[in-house]
Symmetry: D2
Subunit: 347 residues, 4 copies
């Protein structure tokens, strides 16, 4: 049985990882680490887990916890991961990190957009960008995998087949996206209070959201040339769910929606969590929330010769915790779908 430690276990991403793994027979959650709740049963922090996962939270003591597990998932703020992860690696542990710290090949880009100095730049270049649909092989043997951000997962998977197949221009891409509120994490913040959020639709991070360079990095690799994107996130009044509406210019004039669908279906034919929807069907967040699926709809606007791709996922699922577990499955040699095929609740 694989022994897993979760560090930063009491945030929403940590809680979702516990939910996904608690009942598995092939993985033991050997330790849940949370300085804030150290000494308290996990199920007193998340009462939904009463009777299911009652283990007591531990403080972050690397020596103590590294004896307990071989794999660690870190769900820590950026900057903090950069300090903790090297210590785990030096103990010979394999690490799946959910922060932005190890997602960038070019540390300067990271430092410019995150406005901090990187704590362990030497690691960044060896970390694998943990998007299985793009990097499955590298993930298998990685010591350190950086789980992509939620918006990058949603955007890259929507756009990758079009750029890789050179049917759309890498210039002028616009990504208009929306997230549920849980993307902001578990915090006491008036901005995310119920009364300030319910029934309210907002835009944020205009022209400066940190997920922009992450999307650009991966799309540039796929396109074989520099790709810049205009990325604008919004906040919708819902707990979970993410949608990206992507606008690309088609290169040729005569492609139809069904042609593009064929290309997309082929591109993802071996990816169990990507569902390309039939022509005329578009994604809705309810169909993916709580699951590890990403649903993608494709439409050609013949009037403008534009390709509009809409993708939806659960920001805590395929956008974070689900993807971390998918990566863990791959790294550990389990079936990639183990414990992850549960569908959304729909209602």
């Amino acid at each position: 049985m694989l022994k897993l430690g979760i560090i930063g276990a009491t945030g929403y991403v940590g809680a979702e990882i516990v939910r996904l793994i608690a009942l598995r027979k092939d993985i033991e959650i050997a330790t849940v680490v949370s300085n804030t709740f150290a000494g308290r049963p996990y199920s007193s922090v998340y009462q939904s887990l009463r009777g299911i996962f009652d283990k007591t939270c531990e403080p972050l003591d690397i020596d103590e916890i590294s004896d307990k597990a071989d794999f660690f998932i870190t769900a820590l703020p950026h900057g903090v991961s950069g300090e903790v992860v090297p210590k785990l690696l030096s103990k010979g542990k394999r690490v799946i990190d959910n922060s932005g710290d190890f997602r960038f090949r070019d540390i300067k880009v990271y430092e410019q957009w995150y406005k901090v100095q990187h704590k362990s730049p030497y690691l960044a270049e060896n970390a694998v960008y943990g998007l299985p649909e793009i990097n499955r092989e590298k993930i298998k043997t990685a010591s350190l995998t950086a789980v992509p951000g939620c918006y990058p997962t949603c955007s890259i998977l929507a756009i990758a087949p079009a750029l890789a197949n050179k049917i759309a221009s890498p210039k002028g891409i616009i990504i208009d996206a929306v997230s549920g509120v849980s993307g902001a994490g578990r915090k006491s913040d008036l901005y995310y209070s119920y009364c300030e959020t319910e029934g309210n639709y907002k835009v944020y991070g205009l022209a400066n959201h940190r997920h922009t360079p992450e999307i650009e990095q991966e799309l540039s690799l796929l396109a074989g040339q520099e790709v810049l994107v205009s990325f604008t996130p919004h906040l919708a009044p819902m707990k979970r769910g993410m949608m990206a509406t992507c606008y690309l210019d088609l290169i040729e004039d005569d492609l139809k929606t069904c042609d593009i669908l064929e290309i997309y279906n082929d591109y993802y034919k071996n990816d169990p969590f990507v569902r390309i929807l039939p022509e005329g069907i578009q994604p809705e967040t309810r169909n993916v929330v709580g699951s590890n699926f990403v649903d993608i709809g494709v439409t050609v606007d013949h009037r403008l010769n534009k390709l509009i791709i809409v993708s939806a996922l659960d920001n805590l699922g395929k956008g974070a915790a689900g993807q971390a577990v998918q990566v863990l499955n791959i790294m550990a040699g389990f079936d990639e779908t183990e414990g992850l095929l549960n569908p959304s609740m729909y209602i």
Copy 2:
């Protein structure tokens, strides 16, 4: 033109008072007092008021502000009101207070349920309990009116006609109530964050909510004997709105719903904000949210000879800010309905 000061102006009750009064021609909001936001335009705190009410918030300096207005509405936490209100009164101002500090005739009851020592007990006995439907005459000439709590307003108005007309027993009354989240005020509190609140129904304050003795005080006065109630509040996932479902035992066997409706309609025949619904129609919070109305539905359960009264109001409207403005209208000699007849938005 009446000059009004609002102290504690940037909480939700204060903001609702500003919304209700900002466009009136007969009242000038002469000062909005908020230590937290002193120096900032009110409309930068509540952006909905941009261009409508842009006055700058002032710090709480009694000398400074008492020169500016003759009437003050205080929307302060209990305990704080007990300190501030006496100073305003000593300057000859008339005060409408929204806290629990001046609602109790018996200071000991207050101190026992609020678990604090009263700051100005000598005032409490002279304060008028500001429920116009019960105390209209006294309010007219009051120096200090204590605006009732939201649950007490909702519960007392539901039960008053039955006890005053001695058709229901004053024993064994049960009030099961629910509030929208804005009742908790404007705060950074994980408990009221969007993700912890949306789609979630909770019970709280079991057997110890502070509105219990306030309801009991007023119902005892109406019944002419001691009334104890079992009061249980819940929190529903909605911003505004309150409902009380009240269970009473009928004294006689033969009363029908239509008889009770007649009694209720008669009791409130001069009260413009109480709407007794026709037989078979029950209140819904959407019909009162944003308004100063309270809707009341009455049903006799013949099988059990019980009277079930359901009342609904807006916890920020008739349950707080609207009622404060109604009281202000009465104290100032305006038409009681001035600025308050706007209906709910329904959707």
Copy 3:
């Protein structure tokens, strides 16, 4: 492998049953029956199941479908079940029915509250009331089990230990309850449209809800005497979740909350889905939504010598589909918890 047919498969209860069973290795959903959607893939009706459960819906043809499975779950309107179930039984099938048709020992009570004539009264007396915590042994060998209503499940489980242990009076019980909107089923009805429902709290079924006599039947059996209850349901703006707040009069004066908790814990010590919460902790619907758990909190109000019991469950989970699957597990000889231990999503 057990072969299961689901009749009325495209309503919300049917969809939840499919969600709970689709990935199980020990049960094959051999047929999903829906006259409305016959001929269409199930996953085109519930897009969340795309790639997970794509079987085509079949029309209701008893001969056709009864060849395919040995167990049937019927999720049909009352009245319709009364016609369909006898045919399945006559084919030697074991049936789990979700309607009100087979829940009553006394057909007259059913006919009076449901205002229809019973279609198969001879079956009603042999059907087992499918609340495992009360009737586990009888369920094991039942041919026909009637899954309890959502409100009865929530209410009976809350009150049973108090009546069975004779600590509370069987007289004067009040149950004030609330449900999420999915309890109304999947329908095109303005009353349940988003704009008429969101942010709106309503009361309904005053003094005449059909779940009242069902609660009374079971509590009477537990108390060994006739029990009448005052039951009032409400509708809260949330998709799933149910709470019952139950008010009982304690018989003795000196019981404390901790004493009652001991009694409750003992009563449910062998019931894996009932969670008695520690003193001071109350249920919240988010902790049970999506799961088969029912959470129960207990409070003694010493001032009034009342016992207040609050219970929460998912109206589609333990209140319907989850309970049906639990019953199926018991009837089929599986572990009772098989496929049902998944916790709520919390957020």
Copy 4:
């Protein structure tokens, strides 16, 4: 006192018009016309208006109703307006129409996108497009004003100053927009039921939404050349509120956000309902919901030399009913803001 008739009065737009006008002293709602609810008090359809507007609904009988009022607001489906409006005009009435029927200068564009034949094409060319910020003078004397669609109002007001001042390219404009659910009107439709809508974010009308040519018509007039736009609407889980995020390419390299803000403030300097937000502040729907305001935020993305304009309004307010009342004020010679300055409720 102006006498007003409202036809199609019991839809959401009609109800919002009633809400906005019911308490005005300068306008009498002389008749509310609804075939569906003819003979029923308006306040039995919208219980929020009980005691405020109880007039009985009338059937659509042109002779009957045209005697009662001089101005009519029609809130009818497209196609139906095309039949009813000519009859009102022929009676000498002035009409404000909320459908798509009279918004197009080119009937062929209308017929192509709406896929119907126009019922009164000769009227279309004389109707005034009722966007006061663009057409105030023409509206004053119009017999027939076509109130713009909600998305066009939101989009055109966002983009107009940039095109009119030739700072952004009229090519390649992308408008990504979102609406609350009330935009779909009052209907019994499973697609808009609570359980299928709450917590769910969807895209719709991809590359074929009827508001597209309306936006293009008006932007082309402003730009003095043909403008085509890529317009994609979404549905967010909220009752009211609309946001458009507009992406334009700046023509020159050196414009800063503050320069654009100056241009926008100047453009709308005489428009009381357009609020240009200060640099760094972005619109949120809660700040406009329930009001007639449109809030606009402007951002230059220097990295891409793009101009991103975000606008928010209430789809039932400035996007429909509020704008109809604003147009009525202008046509009738009232102050344009009469009865319309109420701010949003914020919470």
